[in-house]
Structures are given as structure tokens and as C-alpha cells.
């Protein structure tokens, strides 16, 4: 075998490249670099230790402030309509224990801060027993009240009448109380309530379309047993307890039982809870990019291993546009790169444009879009705009020299001679020995 054949050249190559590396004395440089990295790492850890305490303190303060700001506040209510408390505070904020009496002129409405409402028709009497963060207790003294409670996750509403208590979640019903006969009447329109009181071993559940009538033992008839009757079907106009103003029965058809909060959330038309659920659903979608980014799916591995066509096929299966819409900047640009290397320039452009739109024009996307305009769309004017953007926005960018050269070339191709001359001058100023220097010199001299 000759000493100067191709195999022996490999030995020359080895000698040359290794000689070059030795000449550059890389070992001390590598050691110095690694020591610097190590030192930076230690400094970061020390700094982290100091800051950790500060951050913990700040976090504790923030948590305290948040707790104070977000602590559950008790409900409040406003009185509205024809009627008054003893002080005649119509339209004012109501207080606990304040006696509320609807006048002859019309009903009195108690509007609670959670959106619930209790309406007292003429002559009805009640007062608010308690106001809590998740509900209130209304004590019915006489007459009938219409109750409309907005359901929330921890709703804790109740209406008290004599020894009876009506526990409410989210519902609409009327409750009447006859003080003379100690008779409670509950007429359900929507939802359900649980009634507890005399004569009931367990809470009596009353659902939409049902009416409950309960008689307590009165002092006049001490030997009587308490009586509880629950009637099914659409409630006919029930005889109002004595002394109670007659009130039109709701004509709404019976509604399906919506006792379970989850079911109610699904069937309720547009309650706040529904809105919360809706927002939660959006929040779930918002978390999707992280999931996409965290999922080391097939296309990434195939891209890494230079299997571009298979990688693109895998990305299409996983949802190319979904990745563009929700992936990280690295993912979206790599996806564009994958598509370009698989010679699918339309998909590449789609990904680069998504990166450009979603991440405020990252440098790799900007220059790639310029190159696609120049090479694939034969649109040098559009390409020049991309390269110009790159040069202006990323003057220290990884590809700034290339972008400056391509800007010059694009403007020349687009017939923008003045622009090309400007680009040439700028190029020579920054890259006097760059690959476009000769062309730039020629342009400037002209």
C-alpha cells in the first residue's frame, strides 16, 4: 500500500486535527471553564440559600395578606320594597335580628350578597337570624315567604319557623308559617330542601313539585301528635294558613329532582357555580401546554434521531396544530424544523408562524420565515422584511451575520437597490470580513 493513499490520509487527518487541538492547549482552558461553572454553581447555591430565607419570609407575609383579603366574609343583605323594619330602613343594608314586615303596599325583598333572595309578601313577617360566609338563617315569624337560594359549593342556608328548620342548598320554594296553629307549609318549585322538626324522626326531603305540611303540637291541644304530610304532584292552590295572605302558587311545571349539588351544577342554567365550573374547565385547558411540553412524545425522539419524515408523521398523529397552539417555544420551533427537514414547507411555515405569533417572534422563527420566503416562495421583498426585523431586534443574535447578508441579498433580488446599498454599508460596518463583504463592497462603490 502506498504511503500517500487515501487510508494513509486518515492518519494525516488524525495528526492534523489532534495536533491542532494540542496546539490550542484545550486542557487548561477546559479546566478553567469547568472551575468557573463550578464557582457559578456554588455562588448560585449560596445566593439561593440567602434568598430562600427572604423568599420564605415574603411568602409568609403574602400568605397572611392573602388570607386577610380572601378570608370568607359573612353575607350581607339589603332590604328593598314596600315595607320596613322598625326604623323604616327600606333600601338600606339590613341587620341581624331586625324585624322585617311587608306592608299592604307590596312585597319586601331581602337581597343577599350571594345572590339569594327572600321575598316577603304583604303582611309576612321575618327577621334574619344569622349571616355566615356561605349562607344565612331567616326566621319566619308569620305569613309566607318566597325563597330563592343560589347554589354554591358550601351553601349553608336555612329557614327557621317555630321548631322547624328548612335546610336549603340551591332551590326555589315558598315557606308559610301560621303562628296560631304552628303549621309550616313548604311548597317546592325547584330543587329540594330538608325539613327537620317535631314529628320527624329523620329529615323530611321535599323536592320540586311537592308540598310539605307540618303541624306542631300547640299549647291549645297538648295531647295531639305532631303531623307531617308530604303531597306529591303539582301542587294545587293550598289553603293558606289562617292569617296569611293568599299567594298565587307557582305554575311552573315540576322540575326534576336536583338535590345533588353535582347534578344541580349540570342542570342549572347559568348559575355562578356553573360559571365557576366553566372557568375551571378553561383552567384545565390552560394547563394543557405544560402537559404537552412535559410529554416526551415520539416526534421529539424521532427529530433528535434525525428521522424527520417519521417524526413529522408522529407529530401529525399527536396533533401538529395542537402542538403549535400549546407547545413550548422550543417545541414549536423544533416542529417547524422537523417539517422543513422532512421537506414539508407548508407545515414548517405553519409552525414558525405559530412560534412567531405566540412567543413574540423568537429569533430562530424570524430568520427561518425569512429564509422560507426567499427560498420557497421566491418573495425576496417579504424575506427582506424578516431579515431586517432580525437584524434590528437581535443585533447580537446567533445568526445576525447571516441575516445581515441575506437582507442585502433579498433587497437586491427585490430590486430595492437603495435598500441593498444601506444593508451593504451596515454589513461592512459590522462584518468587514464576512462572506458578503465582497458583494457589499461592490454595491457601496457603485
Amino acid at each position: 500500500m502506498s504511503e500517500s493513499n487515501l487510508e494513509s490520509l486518515m492518519k494525516d487527518v488524525a495528526r492534523t486535527v489532534q495536533g491542532d487541538a494540542r496546539r490550542r492547549q484545550l486542557l487548561p482552558e477546559i479546566q478553567a471553564r469547568l472551575e468557573r461553572l463550578d464557582e457559578q454553581s456554588r455562588q448560585a447555591q449560596r445566593s439561593y440559600g440567602t434568598w430562600r430565607l427572604s423568599l420564605l419570609g415574603a411568602a409568609a407575609c403574602a400568605a397572611g395578606v392573602l388570607f386577610f383579603v380572601l378570608r370568607p366574609m359573612p353575607l350581607s343583605y339589603a332590604v328593598d320594597g314596600a315595607g320596613a323594619g322598625p326604623a323604616g330602613r327600606v333600601g338600606m343594608v339590613g341587620a341581624i335580628g331586625e324585624r322585617l314586615v311587608a306592608s299592604d303596599a307590596g312585597p319586601l325583598a331581602l337581597r343577599f350578597s350571594d345572590g339569594s333572595q327572600v321575598t316577603l309578601p304583604p303582611h309576612a313577617q321575618a327577621h334574619v337570624d344569622a349571616l355566615e360566609p356561605h349562607g344565612a338563617t331567616v326566621a319566619l315569624e308569620g305569613g309566607t315567604v318566597d325563597v330563592s337560594v343560589i347554589h354554591r359549593a358550601k351553601t349553608h342556608w336555612s329557614v327557621r319557623a317555630g321548631r322547624y328548620t328548612i335546610r336549603v342548598t340551591g332551590t326555589k320554594f315558598s315557606a308559610g308559617w301560621d303562628r296560631k296553629t304552628d303549621t309550616l307549609t313548604v311548597t317546592m318549585r325547584e330543587g329540594s330542601v330538608e325539613v327537620t322538626g317535631p314529628g320527624m324522626k329523620a329529615p323530611a326531603r321535599v323536592v320540586g313539585g311537592q308540598r310539605l305540611r307540618a303541624n306542631d303540637v300547640t299549647v291549645d291541644h297538648p295531647g295531639d301528635e305532631p303531623e307531617v304530610i308530604v303531597e306529591d304532584g303539582t301542587v294545587a292552590a293550598a289553603p293558606a294558613p289562617e292569617g296569611v295572605a293568599p299567594q298565587a302558587e307557582p305554575v311552573a311545571p315540576p322540575v326534576a329532582v336536583v338535590a345533588e349539588p353535582e347534578e344541580q351544577a349540570q342542570t342549572a342554567p347559568s348559575t355562578p357555580s356553573r360559571e365557576i365550573e366553566h372557568k375551571a374547565s378553561h383552567a384545565h385547558h390552560a394547563a394543557a401546554p405544560t402537559m404537552v411540553a412535559a410529554n416526551d412524545s415520539g416526534w421529539r425522539a424521532l427529530y433528535k434521531d434525525a428521522h424527520y419524515e417519521a417524526g413529522l408523521a408522529a407529530a401529525e398523529r399527536e396533533g401538529f396544530e395542537e402542538i403549535c397552539a400549546r407547545g413550548s417555544v422550543e417545541d414549536v420551533i423544533n416542529l417547524g424544523e422537523l417539517a422543513r427537514l422532512a421537506h414539508n414547507y407548508n407545515r414548517a411555515e405553519l409552525a414558525y408562524r405559530a412560534a412567531n405569533r405566540r412567543f413574540s417572534s423568537p429569533p430562530r422563527a424570524v430568520i427561518a420565515l425569512g429564509r422560507l420566503e426567499l427560498d420557497q416562495h421566491n418573495n425576496p421583498a417579504a424575506a427582506a422584511r424578516w431579515f431586517d426585523e432580525y437584524v434590528k431586534r437581535f443585533p447580537r443574535g446567533e445568526f445576525v451575520r447571516e441575516a445581515a447578508g441575506l437582507l442585502l441579498e433579498s433587497r437586491l433580488k427585490a430590486g430595492d437597490n437603495a435598500g441593498a446599498r444601506d444593508a451593504a454599508e451596515s454589513y461592512l460596518q459590522h462584518f468587514p470580513n464576512g462572506p458578503y463583504a465582497k458583494k457589499a463592497n461592490g454595491l457601496v462603490r457603485h
Binding site: 500500500m1 490520509l9 487527518v13 486535527v17 486542557l27 477546559i30 471553564r33 427560498d375 447571516e402
Partner: protein
């Protein structure tokens, strides 16, 4: 372990302080154990011991390149990050070689991917200081890497490890984490491609004409093509 960390350097298990003050370790097992303990002196020893290997592999793969130092640094950063996962100390050398191969291949791939944007003017190519007839060898070295740039990454790595870094076939297979048969296949394809492409470069064509196994390979390919036509 805590006791070992608290001991003076020269009293730690496996550590030996030379007259000059430098720490050394008898073998890779001691070195790896020290690295697992987080011994900083062991890091310096590891770099001292394995930098030449990494440099040889990286330089062979990339050629004369201004980024060699960056790649070597990346390799050692990877070594320090992953050393806790290395259970078998006797595999240290081949593990580092694998890291070097994969890091260099990653750099080549990245460069290849963005080559459509990058370009290198002749005046930007670094000058190559070589002994002997500088002009000819210089041109031949550059032509060699231009041809290697045309090879698929895996074939290029196998080729450079075998013929430039002069590794044994089994070492190449281990470093590339593939079977011996796969390496042989890659090398066969790489040699064929290299010889074919070498015909287009005057500096390599002359060498090809000087005979040798690759010359025969080129002739066989030519006769095969002639036969087909």
C-alpha cells in the same frame, strides 16, 4: 460518608496527595467513589485523566473547529451531571467515550439543521498549521471533512471513530451503543460513500489513485456501475 467528607483530603479513602499537592486516585473505582461523594478534587483528576480521550474523539469527529472546546466542556458537564448514575466504575471510560460521541454527534446535527442559514466564506475557514507540505495536506484535510459532512450522522461518527480516532471496532460499537454488526454495516456504507464522494475532490482523488483498499473499493463500484449500464 459524612466522616469521609470531614477528613483531610489525604486521609480520605482512595485519595493520595502527591508531592506537588495534587490529589490522585489509584483506579477508576476510587475516582468514581470520590465523585459519588462529591469530592471536588476528584473532578479535576477526572478531567486531567480523560480530557485527552474526549479531545481525540471530538476533534476526530468535528475536524479543525473553533467549537471543540465548547463540545469538550459539554461532555464533562454531562459527565458530572450523570456520574451518580454510573454504578459500574469499570465502565467509566466507555461511558465517557459514549458521552463524547453523542455530544459531538449532537453538535454536528445541530449544525447540519441550521446549515441552510449559516454559510462559511473561504476567508472564515481557520488556517491549519500542519507539518510537511502544508498546502496539499491542508487541502486534503478540508476536503475530508467536506466529504464527511455529506455522510449521514451515524455513518460519519462510525467512520471518524474508526479511521481518524483509530478506535477498535468493538470500541466504536460500545461508544455508539450499537451492536458490532451494526457498526460494520455503517462502516461499509460510510466507506463506500466516502470513496464515491472523494472522486469529486482533486486532493482526495489523487490519494485514491495511489492504490489501497479504498482504491479497490472505488474501482469495484465503477465496474459495477459499468456492468449495470
Amino acid at each position: 460518608m459524612a466522616i469521609a467528607m470531614a477528613l483531610p483530603r489525604e486521609m480520605r479513602p482512595g485519595a493520595h496527595v502527591l508531592n506537588g499537592g495534587a490529589t490522585t486516585y489509584n483506579d477508576d473505582a476510587e475516582l468514581v467513589a470520590a465523585l459519588h461523594r462529591g469530592d471536588r478534587a476528584a473532578r479535576a483528576v477526572l478531567v486531567q485523566r480523560y480530557e485527552p480521550l474526549v479531545e481525540r474523539l471530538v476533534a476526530g469527529a468535528l475536524g479543525i473547529d473553533s467549537e471543540i472546546a465548547d463540545v469538550i466542556q459539554d461532555v464533562f458537564v454531562g459527565v458530572f451531571e450523570g456520574i451518580r448514575g454510573l454504578k459500574d466504575a469499570s465502565a467509566l471510560r466507555s461511558w465517557i467515550a459514549t458521552l463524547a460521541v453523542f455530544t459531538a454527534r449532537g453538535r454536528i446535527r445541530r449544525r447540519r439543521r441550521w446549515r441552510w442559514i449559516r454559510f462559511l466564506a473561504p476567508e472564515d475557514v481557520p488556517e491549519v498549521p500542519v507539518s510537511g507540505p502544508q498546502g496539499e495536506t491542508h487541502e486534503a484535510v478540508r476536503a475530508t471533512y467536506r466529504v464527511l459532512d455529506m455522510l449521514p450522522d451515524d455513518e460519519r461518527m462510525a467512520f471518524s471513530l474508526r479511521f481518524i480516532s483509530e478506535m477498535q471496532l468493538t470500541e466504536v460499537a460500545a461508544a455508539c451503543r450499537v451492536s458490532l454488526a451494526t457498526v460494520k454495516r455503517r462502516l461499509a456504507r460510510a466507506e463506500k460513500r466516502f470513496v464515491e464522494a472523494a472522486k469529486d475532490h482533486p486532493a482526495l482523488r489523487e490519494r485514491l489513485a495511489q492504490g489501497g483498499r479504498w482504491s479497490e473499493l472505488g474501482k469495484a463500484a465503477e465496474s459495477g456501475e459499468a456492468g449495470e449500464s
